[in-house]
């Protein structure tokens, strides 16, 4: 679905039911494209208030699903089908872009290279990295293990904000989530006005 816009659908209904519905629907379409679920990807809520209200069951649950724009019409039809009881499409907003903040603290050159590769070297050109200014501290005298005077001979810290289109930023966010020494904030979506 490269080249197409992604849409964030907000569907009222039980989160697991929504996921089951969308997975079944896309499998039935031969699995050419696939929905993404905000909750699984560590995508932040649009507003903090939404998260609090949902957690406290003060309003019906809203599940957020990302689908490619060409799939939207079919999804909309399916959700409108009376058999999709209990699920209601609440909003459809185009995803203009997204970003997330991160901080890394590693203790070997190899690890520093791996983090640099993730955020800089391997990042596609449409992804922008703000605030990238790694700080290195090398103390050759501190090589080896210590019991009482523990100091790393190599210490490297970096932080920044990754911005860009959803799919490549999502890939970098996913990579960061798999690195224990990278602390990444939830992905935040930049959304356009509702298409409904």
């Amino acid at each position: 679905m490269v080249g197409h816009r992604d849409l964030q659908l907000t569907v009222e209904g039980d989160e697991k039911t929504v996921r089951g519905f969308f997975r079944g629907f896309f499998l039935g379409r031969n699995g050419v494209s696939w929905p993404l679920f905000n909750a699984e990807l560590g995508i932040a809520h649009d507003r903090l208030l939404d998260a609090v209200q949902e957690r406290l069951h003060l309003r019906p649950n809203h599940a957020h699903v990302i689908v490619a724009e060409p799939d939207f019409e079919a999804v909309q039809r399916a959700l409108a089908d009376p058999r999709a009881e209990g699920l209601e499409l609440v909003s459809v907003r185009p995803i203009e872009g997204c970003f997330f903040r991160f901080a890394a603290h590693v203790f070997t050159r190899e690890r520093a290279d791996a983090v640099t590769d993730c955020f800089v070297t391997s990042a596609p050109p449409e992804v922008h990295l703000d605030g990238w200014d790694p700080v290195v501290r090398v103390d050759e005298d501190a090589a080896g293990v210590e019991l009482y005077s523990p100091v790393h001979d190599f210490e490297w810290k970096a932080s920044g904000t990754v911005r860009g289109p959803l799919r490549p930023v999502l890939a970098i966010h996913g990579q960061a989530r798999r690195d224990d020494q990278v602390v990444e904030q939830p992905l935040e979506l930049v959304l356009g006005v509702s298409l409904l």
């Binding site: 590693v106 203790f107 501190a142 009482y148 602390v183």
Partner: protein, 490 residues
């Protein structure tokens, strides 16, 4: 090279603290029983100072500490040692010579021998880091720590543990439980396991007496292993499905041990230590008041021989696989040179019991529960070896039994009724060993494990994060259970 440059500081420390004393030796003076009653409480300030330096400098000024700890240790030693010798002359000399010859030198020799031997044993191969495998690794580490020392066991197993789990995202808990079990609790069964227990052995606690801790060790170990298994299983299920699938498909390299001959040397170390606890060949008189049992001299010479033989017969390649260097043992040598000098007033005052300036402490710590928790909590934030020695002497001071220290220990461990019994020593020993796990600074291997894990890509909690997220919710409830089962229920 850095270690070599620091050697003069160690020699200078020993020179400064020992030679003025030797010069005074001709003046005699005798080690009178009243030294503890004469020393003021503020003489313990350098002891508190060196322990707080060890606790705080790695947190607030790690690079300064790394480069200057020998000078700091020497500074505290001199601050106490010189005035002590000037005022108490012969008595001071006896106390200093006694603690260095009877405690410091054997202590360092044993740790050095264990470190050298265990540094030559390598675990190779790849394990698949599942909850069952990880629990098994922790169990093995817990079982061997009492025989190779907590530092040795940690050095031996932390890398295989990290290798087995390198594919995982959630690894912090593995290292934290490794610190709990392998670097601390596991060392509670023999004097070889943890430095406090070896100090107890040097002060007359029989080698196998520490087996009294078996029920406590078993209870805490089982509790922690069960909790670990549950936590690890939950986190394992949250690992990415593709990573788990890749792990299953990965071809595993069979696990093997290299440097097996070092287990023979380990047996010799155990043999020499056991021998020194059982044989009685009389004593060699170094000064009028300093008599060293001949079997202890044989033990120490034997341990040096074992260490040298292990070093010669083990290829550098094996040690390199463990990232072995002399740094850890040099740190112990420097810092404990300072600790053993500055601990003298605390020990003497505590031995004086109700006649010393710490009579309030002796009177205040009056039950097994209090011994367990006070020794433990102080061991959490100060090094557990000197803390053990402090409360060991508090107990002997409270006991007030006549005779030598060894005779007093015999009275303590054979007493089953009254305020001070064999359980008191169990409480002190368990408190010192177990609660060294409460913080990174409680026991020497904790920091080493943390640093190795961080260099392998594991995000370790901060000092306070470790306490708040792991020690308080997991360890402390286990110790509360120990308190109820062993110190309140009887």
């Amino acid at each position: 090279m850095a270690r070599c440059r620091r050697l003069p500081w160690l020699l200078l420390t020993l020179f400064v603290v020992l030679l003025p004393g030797l010069a005074l030796a001709s003046g005699g003076g005798g080690h009178g029983p009243g030294l503890g009653a004469q020393l003021p409480l503020w003489a313990c300030i350098p002891f508190a100072g060196i322990l707080l330096s060890i606790a705080l400098f790695p947190l607030v000024a790690p690079h300064f500490w790394h480069h200057h700890y020998p000078k700091v240790a020497m500074g505290w030693a001199v601050l106490f040692g010189v005035p002590f010798l000037m005022v108490y002359r012969g008595q001071a000399l006896d106390a200093i010579l006694h603690i260095y010859v009877a405690d410091y030198i054997p202590f360092i020799i044993l740790l050095w021998a264990l470190f050298t031997v265990s540094g030559g044993i390598v675990v190779r191969g790849s394990l698949k880091g599942s909850p069952l495998v990880n629990t098994g690794l922790l169990l093995i580490g817990t079982l061997i720590a009492s025989w190779v020392g907590t530092t040795g066991a940690a050095m031996l197993l932390i890398r295989p543990m990290l290798r087995a789990n390198s594919w995982r995202v959630h690894k912090t808990h593995l290292v934290v439980f490794f610190i709990f079990l392998v670097a601390n609790v596991g060392g509670s069964l023999t004097p070889l396991g943890d430095p406090p227990l070896f100090l107890g052995f040097l002060h007359g606690v029989p080698f196998f007496w520490t087996m009294h801790l078996l029920p406590l060790y078993a209870l805490v170990s089982v509790l922690l292993l069960v909790i670990f298994f549950v936590v690890d299983t939950r986190l394992y299920r949250r690992e990415p499905a593709d990573a788990r699938a890749a792990l299953q498909a990965e071809e595993s390299v069979p696990v093997s041990l290299a440097g097996l001959h070092n287990f023979g040397f380990l047996g010799l170390i155990i043999g020499f230590v056991l021998y020194s606890g059982m044989a009685d060949h009389g004593a060699v008189a170094f000064t009028e008041h300093l008599h060293v049992p001949f079997q202890n001299i044989i033990r120490d010479v034997g341990l040096i021989g074992v260490g040298l033989a292990a070093y010669k017969m083990t290829g550098d390649g094996l040690r390199a696989e463990n990232d072995f260097n002399w740094g850890p043992i040099a740190e112990v040598a420097y810092l404990f040179a300072g600790i053993f000098m500055t601990i003298i007033p605390a020990l003497e005052i505590l031995k004086a019991g109700s006649h010393g300036d710490l009579a309030w402490l002796v009177a205040g710590v009056d039950s097994d529960v209090r011994y367990f928790w006070v020794t433990g909590l102080l061991s959490s934030f100060l090094d557990n070896a000197p803390t053990y020695l402090t409360f060991f002497n508090t107990a002997l001071g409270s006991l007030g039994a006549p005779g030598t220290e060894v005779e007093q220990v015999q009275v303590l461990i054979s007493t089953t009724e009254g305020p001070l019994t064999v359980r008191t020593l169990m409480a002190i020993s368990a408190g010192a060993v177990f609660m060294g796990a409460n913080t990174y600074i409680g026991n020497a291997p904790n920091f080493m494990v943390k640093a190795i894990a961080e260099e392998s890509g594991v995000r370790m909690p901060s000092f306070f994060g470790y306490i708040l997220r792991w020690s308080l919710p997991i360890l402390v409830p286990c110790f509360v259970v120990v308190t109820f089962v062993f110190f309140l229920a009887t």
